[in-house]
Amino acid sequence: MNRFILPVVLFLALAGVLYIGVRHSPNKSTMVSALLGKPAPAFELPVLGDPARKFNSRELAGRPWVINVWGTWCGECRVEHETLLAIAKQNRVPLVGLNWKDDDEAAQQWLAQLGNPYGVVAADREGRTAIDFGVYGAPETFFVDADGIVQYRHVGAMTADVWEREFLSRLPKAAMP
Protein backbone atom coordinates (compact mmCIF):
# COMPACT_ATOMS: atom_id res chain seq x y z
CA MET A 1 0.00 0.00 0.00
CA ASN A 2 2.69 2.38 1.10
CA ARG A 3 4.57 2.11 -2.16
CA PHE A 4 1.57 3.40 -4.12
CA ILE A 5 1.28 6.67 -2.21
CA LEU A 6 4.23 8.43 -3.82
CA PRO A 7 3.30 7.57 -7.44
CA VAL A 8 -0.33 8.52 -6.82
CA VAL A 9 0.64 11.86 -5.28
CA LEU A 10 3.03 12.54 -8.17
CA PHE A 11 0.36 11.60 -10.66
CA LEU A 12 -2.21 13.89 -9.05
CA ALA A 13 0.30 16.76 -8.91
CA LEU A 14 1.17 16.34 -12.58
CA ALA A 15 -2.49 16.00 -13.55
CA GLY A 16 -3.23 19.20 -11.61
CA VAL A 17 -0.45 21.11 -13.34
CA LEU A 18 -1.51 19.90 -16.77
CA TYR A 19 -5.14 20.72 -16.02
CA ILE A 20 -4.20 24.28 -15.10
CA GLY A 21 -2.07 24.47 -18.24
CA VAL A 22 -4.91 23.33 -20.46
CA ARG A 23 -7.42 25.62 -18.79
CA HIS A 24 -5.16 28.65 -19.15
CA SER A 25 -3.71 27.83 -22.53
CA PRO A 26 -3.44 30.91 -24.74
CA ASN A 27 -6.57 30.09 -26.63
CA LYS A 28 -7.89 32.94 -28.72
CA SER A 29 -11.25 32.99 -27.00
CA THR A 30 -10.03 32.66 -23.43
CA MET A 31 -6.94 34.86 -23.39
CA VAL A 32 -7.50 37.49 -20.76
CA SER A 33 -6.68 41.06 -21.60
CA ALA A 34 -3.70 42.54 -19.77
CA LEU A 35 -5.75 45.73 -19.45
CA LEU A 36 -8.49 44.32 -17.24
CA GLY A 37 -8.91 46.49 -14.16
CA LYS A 38 -6.64 49.13 -15.63
CA PRO A 39 -7.45 52.49 -17.22
CA ALA A 40 -8.35 52.29 -20.89
CA PRO A 41 -5.64 53.93 -22.98
CA ALA A 42 -6.50 57.47 -23.99
CA PHE A 43 -6.38 58.17 -27.70
CA GLU A 44 -7.14 60.85 -30.22
CA LEU A 45 -7.72 59.80 -33.82
CA PRO A 46 -9.31 61.23 -36.94
CA VAL A 47 -12.98 60.42 -37.38
CA LEU A 48 -13.73 58.11 -40.29
CA GLY A 49 -15.41 60.05 -43.06
CA ASP A 50 -14.54 63.38 -41.46
CA PRO A 51 -10.75 63.34 -41.02
CA ALA A 52 -10.62 67.03 -40.13
CA ARG A 53 -12.47 66.14 -36.96
CA LYS A 54 -10.63 64.31 -34.19
CA PHE A 55 -12.24 61.91 -31.78
CA ASN A 56 -10.76 62.01 -28.28
CA SER A 57 -11.57 59.14 -25.93
CA ARG A 58 -11.90 61.68 -23.09
CA GLU A 59 -15.17 62.77 -24.66
CA LEU A 60 -16.67 59.66 -23.09
CA ALA A 61 -15.17 60.14 -19.64
CA GLY A 62 -17.66 59.71 -16.82
CA ARG A 63 -19.84 57.13 -18.52
CA PRO A 64 -19.47 53.54 -19.60
CA TRP A 65 -18.72 52.88 -23.24
CA VAL A 66 -17.82 50.07 -25.58
CA ILE A 67 -15.10 50.01 -28.21
CA ASN A 68 -15.18 47.53 -31.07
CA VAL A 69 -12.05 46.91 -33.13
CA TRP A 70 -12.82 46.05 -36.75
CA GLY A 71 -11.57 46.21 -40.32
CA THR A 72 -13.00 45.50 -43.73
CA TRP A 73 -10.22 42.90 -44.19
CA CYS A 74 -11.56 40.94 -41.24
CA GLY A 75 -13.95 38.09 -41.97
CA GLU A 76 -15.31 37.67 -38.47
CA CYS A 77 -16.18 41.37 -38.42
CA ARG A 78 -18.71 40.75 -41.14
CA VAL A 79 -20.08 37.85 -39.12
CA GLU A 80 -20.69 40.03 -36.07
CA HIS A 81 -21.98 43.05 -37.97
CA GLU A 82 -25.65 42.09 -37.74
CA THR A 83 -25.28 41.66 -34.00
CA LEU A 84 -23.62 45.06 -33.69
CA LEU A 85 -26.50 46.65 -35.58
CA ALA A 86 -28.98 45.03 -33.20
CA ILE A 87 -26.89 46.24 -30.25
CA ALA A 88 -26.85 49.77 -31.63
CA LYS A 89 -30.63 49.66 -31.92
CA GLN A 90 -30.88 48.94 -28.18
CA ASN A 91 -29.07 52.22 -27.60
CA ARG A 92 -27.90 51.27 -24.13
CA VAL A 93 -24.27 52.36 -24.25
CA PRO A 94 -22.10 54.38 -26.67
CA LEU A 95 -20.47 52.09 -29.23
CA VAL A 96 -17.18 53.39 -30.61
CA GLY A 97 -15.65 51.73 -33.66
CA LEU A 98 -11.88 51.47 -33.96
CA ASN A 99 -11.23 50.95 -37.66
CA TRP A 100 -7.91 49.13 -37.46
CA LYS A 101 -5.33 49.41 -40.24
CA ASP A 102 -7.94 49.83 -42.90
CA ASP A 103 -8.60 51.90 -45.96
CA ASP A 104 -10.85 54.96 -45.46
CA GLU A 105 -12.78 54.38 -48.62
CA ALA A 106 -13.30 50.66 -48.07
CA ALA A 107 -14.40 51.28 -44.48
CA GLN A 108 -16.92 53.94 -45.46
CA GLN A 109 -18.26 51.73 -48.21
CA TRP A 110 -18.66 48.87 -45.74
CA LEU A 111 -20.71 51.03 -43.39
CA ALA A 112 -22.80 52.46 -46.23
CA GLN A 113 -23.61 48.98 -47.48
CA LEU A 114 -24.10 47.06 -44.26
CA GLY A 115 -25.28 49.85 -41.97
CA ASN A 116 -23.40 51.78 -39.31
CA PRO A 117 -23.77 50.57 -35.72
CA TYR A 118 -21.18 53.00 -34.36
CA GLY A 119 -21.76 56.38 -32.74
CA VAL A 120 -18.34 57.34 -33.99
CA VAL A 121 -15.58 55.50 -35.82
CA ALA A 122 -11.96 56.37 -35.08
CA ALA A 123 -9.52 55.62 -37.89
CA ASP A 124 -6.43 53.88 -36.50
CA ARG A 125 -4.34 53.84 -39.65
CA GLU A 126 -0.99 53.01 -38.01
CA GLY A 127 -2.40 50.53 -35.53
CA ARG A 128 -1.00 52.37 -32.52
CA THR A 129 -4.22 52.64 -30.55
CA ALA A 130 -4.94 48.97 -31.22
CA ILE A 131 -1.54 48.09 -29.76
CA ASP A 132 -2.25 50.29 -26.74
CA PHE A 133 -5.38 48.21 -26.21
CA GLY A 134 -3.40 44.99 -26.59
CA VAL A 135 -5.42 43.98 -29.63
CA TYR A 136 -4.03 40.93 -31.43
CA GLY A 137 -6.83 40.05 -33.82
CA ALA A 138 -10.03 41.69 -34.94
CA PRO A 139 -12.75 41.71 -33.97
CA GLU A 140 -12.21 42.57 -30.33
CA THR A 141 -14.67 44.41 -28.12
CA PHE A 142 -13.87 46.17 -24.82
CA PHE A 143 -16.15 47.38 -22.07
CA VAL A 144 -14.91 50.53 -20.35
CA ASP A 145 -16.71 51.62 -17.20
CA ALA A 146 -17.63 55.15 -16.06
CA ASP A 147 -14.28 55.47 -14.28
CA GLY A 148 -12.46 54.71 -17.53
CA ILE A 149 -11.41 51.23 -16.37
CA VAL A 150 -11.38 48.29 -18.81
CA GLN A 151 -13.76 45.71 -17.34
CA TYR A 152 -14.04 43.16 -20.10
CA ARG A 153 -12.56 42.17 -23.44
CA HIS A 154 -14.24 39.84 -25.89
CA VAL A 155 -12.16 38.34 -28.70
CA GLY A 156 -13.95 37.15 -31.83
CA ALA A 157 -17.36 37.86 -33.25
CA MET A 158 -19.83 39.45 -30.85
CA THR A 159 -22.94 37.41 -30.16
CA ALA A 160 -26.24 38.39 -28.55
CA ASP A 161 -25.44 36.00 -25.73
CA VAL A 162 -22.01 37.47 -24.96
CA TRP A 163 -23.43 40.96 -25.23
CA GLU A 164 -26.09 40.25 -22.65
CA ARG A 165 -23.94 38.22 -20.29
CA GLU A 166 -20.69 40.19 -20.34
CA PHE A 167 -21.55 43.70 -21.47
CA LEU A 168 -25.11 44.62 -20.51
CA SER A 169 -24.60 43.03 -17.12
CA ARG A 170 -21.76 45.47 -16.46
CA LEU A 171 -23.87 48.54 -17.03
CA PRO A 172 -24.88 50.27 -13.81
CA LYS A 173 -28.60 50.02 -13.11
CA ALA A 174 -28.95 53.81 -13.25
CA ALA A 175 -27.67 53.88 -16.82
CA MET A 176 -30.53 51.74 -18.02
CA PRO A 177 -33.43 53.58 -19.62
Binding site: L6, P26, A34, I131
Partner: protein, 142 residues
Protein backbone atom coordinates in the same frame (compact mmCIF):
# COMPACT_ATOMS: atom_id res chain seq x y z
CA UNK B 1 20.72 16.51 -54.59
CA UNK B 2 22.86 17.57 -51.65
CA UNK B 3 23.71 20.75 -53.50
CA UNK B 4 20.07 21.40 -54.19
CA UNK B 5 19.19 21.07 -50.51
CA UNK B 6 22.07 23.34 -49.59
CA UNK B 7 20.97 25.90 -52.14
CA UNK B 8 17.41 25.74 -50.83
CA UNK B 9 18.62 26.27 -47.28
CA UNK B 10 20.64 29.31 -48.30
CA UNK B 11 17.89 30.84 -50.42
CA UNK B 12 15.07 30.11 -47.99
CA UNK B 13 17.10 31.64 -45.20
CA UNK B 14 16.89 34.97 -46.94
CA UNK B 15 13.38 34.42 -48.26
CA UNK B 16 12.05 33.87 -44.75
CA UNK B 17 13.85 36.88 -43.29
CA UNK B 18 10.75 39.00 -43.05
CA UNK B 19 12.30 41.88 -41.20
CA UNK B 20 14.29 44.33 -43.30
CA UNK B 21 14.79 46.78 -40.42
CA UNK B 22 18.25 48.19 -39.94
CA UNK B 23 19.25 50.21 -36.92
CA UNK B 24 21.75 53.08 -37.07
CA UNK B 25 24.40 51.36 -34.95
CA UNK B 26 25.47 47.71 -34.64
CA UNK B 27 24.83 47.91 -30.90
CA UNK B 28 21.23 49.03 -31.42
CA UNK B 29 20.84 46.44 -34.18
CA UNK B 30 21.88 43.70 -31.81
CA UNK B 31 19.52 44.87 -29.07
CA UNK B 32 16.73 45.24 -31.64
CA UNK B 33 17.19 41.68 -32.81
CA UNK B 34 17.44 40.32 -29.31
CA UNK B 35 14.22 42.03 -28.23
CA UNK B 36 12.18 41.17 -31.32
CA UNK B 37 13.25 37.53 -31.12
CA UNK B 38 12.05 37.41 -27.53
CA UNK B 39 8.56 38.76 -28.20
CA UNK B 40 5.75 36.47 -29.22
CA UNK B 41 3.74 37.23 -32.33
CA UNK B 42 0.32 37.22 -30.71
CA UNK B 43 -1.44 36.13 -33.90
CA UNK B 44 0.74 33.13 -34.58
CA UNK B 45 1.70 32.02 -31.07
CA UNK B 46 4.92 30.14 -31.73
CA UNK B 47 6.63 32.69 -33.91
CA UNK B 48 8.49 35.69 -32.59
CA UNK B 49 7.65 39.11 -33.98
CA UNK B 50 11.08 39.00 -35.64
CA UNK B 51 10.10 36.19 -37.98
CA UNK B 52 6.40 36.72 -38.50
CA UNK B 53 5.13 38.45 -41.61
CA UNK B 54 1.72 39.47 -40.18
CA UNK B 55 0.78 43.12 -39.87
CA UNK B 56 0.65 43.24 -36.10
CA UNK B 57 4.18 41.83 -35.83
CA UNK B 58 5.54 44.52 -38.12
CA UNK B 59 3.70 47.17 -36.09
CA UNK B 60 5.25 45.83 -32.91
CA UNK B 61 8.69 45.79 -34.55
CA UNK B 62 8.14 49.42 -35.49
CA UNK B 63 7.35 50.19 -31.84
CA UNK B 64 10.48 48.37 -30.66
CA UNK B 65 12.57 50.34 -33.12
CA UNK B 66 11.04 53.66 -32.08
CA UNK B 67 11.43 52.93 -28.38
CA UNK B 68 15.07 51.94 -28.89
CA UNK B 69 15.75 55.11 -30.83
CA UNK B 70 14.01 57.06 -28.06
CA UNK B 71 16.64 55.69 -25.68
CA UNK B 72 14.48 53.22 -23.76
CA UNK B 73 16.16 50.29 -22.03
CA UNK B 74 15.44 46.68 -23.00
CA UNK B 75 13.53 46.22 -19.75
CA UNK B 76 11.39 49.28 -20.43
CA UNK B 77 10.54 48.02 -23.90
CA UNK B 78 9.56 44.59 -22.57
CA UNK B 79 7.47 46.28 -19.87
CA UNK B 80 5.75 48.31 -22.59
CA UNK B 81 4.76 45.09 -24.35
CA UNK B 82 3.72 43.27 -21.16
CA UNK B 83 1.57 46.22 -20.10
CA UNK B 84 -0.43 45.81 -23.30
CA UNK B 85 -0.35 42.10 -23.99
CA UNK B 86 0.53 40.47 -20.68
CA UNK B 87 3.39 38.12 -19.81
CA UNK B 88 2.29 35.78 -22.57
CA UNK B 89 4.06 38.02 -25.09
CA UNK B 90 7.44 37.17 -23.52
CA UNK B 91 9.06 33.91 -24.60
CA UNK B 92 10.94 34.00 -21.31
CA UNK B 93 8.46 34.49 -18.48
CA UNK B 94 9.63 36.58 -15.52
CA UNK B 95 11.14 34.79 -12.50
CA UNK B 96 8.54 36.28 -10.16
CA UNK B 97 4.85 36.39 -9.40
CA UNK B 98 2.52 33.77 -10.77
CA UNK B 99 4.95 32.63 -13.45
CA UNK B 100 7.56 31.72 -10.82
CA UNK B 101 6.28 28.15 -10.74
CA UNK B 102 7.17 27.79 -14.41
CA UNK B 103 10.78 28.02 -13.29
CA UNK B 104 10.56 26.22 -9.97
CA UNK B 105 8.44 23.25 -10.98
CA UNK B 106 10.91 21.67 -13.45
CA UNK B 107 13.63 21.81 -10.78
CA UNK B 108 11.33 20.15 -8.24
CA UNK B 109 10.33 17.54 -10.84
CA UNK B 110 13.97 16.84 -11.74
CA UNK B 111 15.00 16.50 -8.08
CA UNK B 112 11.99 14.24 -7.50
CA UNK B 113 13.06 12.12 -10.46
CA UNK B 114 16.60 11.80 -9.11
CA UNK B 115 15.23 10.88 -5.67
CA UNK B 116 12.96 8.16 -7.08
CA UNK B 117 15.73 6.94 -9.39
CA UNK B 118 18.23 6.62 -6.56
CA UNK B 119 15.73 4.72 -4.45
CA UNK B 120 14.91 2.31 -7.26
CA UNK B 121 18.58 1.67 -8.03
CA UNK B 122 19.39 1.10 -4.36
CA UNK B 123 16.54 -1.35 -3.96
CA UNK B 124 17.56 -3.20 -7.10
CA UNK B 125 21.13 -3.32 -5.86
CA UNK B 126 19.94 -4.83 -2.59
CA UNK B 127 17.80 -7.37 -4.45
CA UNK B 128 20.72 -8.31 -6.71
CA UNK B 129 22.90 -8.83 -3.62
CA UNK B 130 20.34 -11.25 -2.25
CA UNK B 131 19.99 -12.92 -5.65
CA UNK B 132 23.72 -13.39 -5.80
CA UNK B 133 23.74 -15.30 -2.56
CA UNK B 134 20.88 -17.46 -3.84
CA UNK B 135 22.50 -17.98 -7.21
CA UNK B 136 25.79 -18.87 -5.55
CA UNK B 137 24.27 -21.64 -3.52
CA UNK B 138 22.20 -22.90 -6.41
CA UNK B 139 24.96 -22.74 -8.93
CA UNK B 140 27.60 -24.49 -6.97
CA UNK B 141 26.09 -27.99 -7.38
CA UNK B 142 26.06 -27.75 -11.16
Amino acid sequence: MKRLVLLWLVVSGTAFAVDPTTMPTPELQQRYEEITHGLRCMQCMNNSIADSPVGLASDLRRDVKELLLAGKTDAEIRAYMVQRYGNVILFTPPVSGSSLWVWVLPVIAALGGVFVGVRVVRRRARLVDQDDSVVDTEESPR
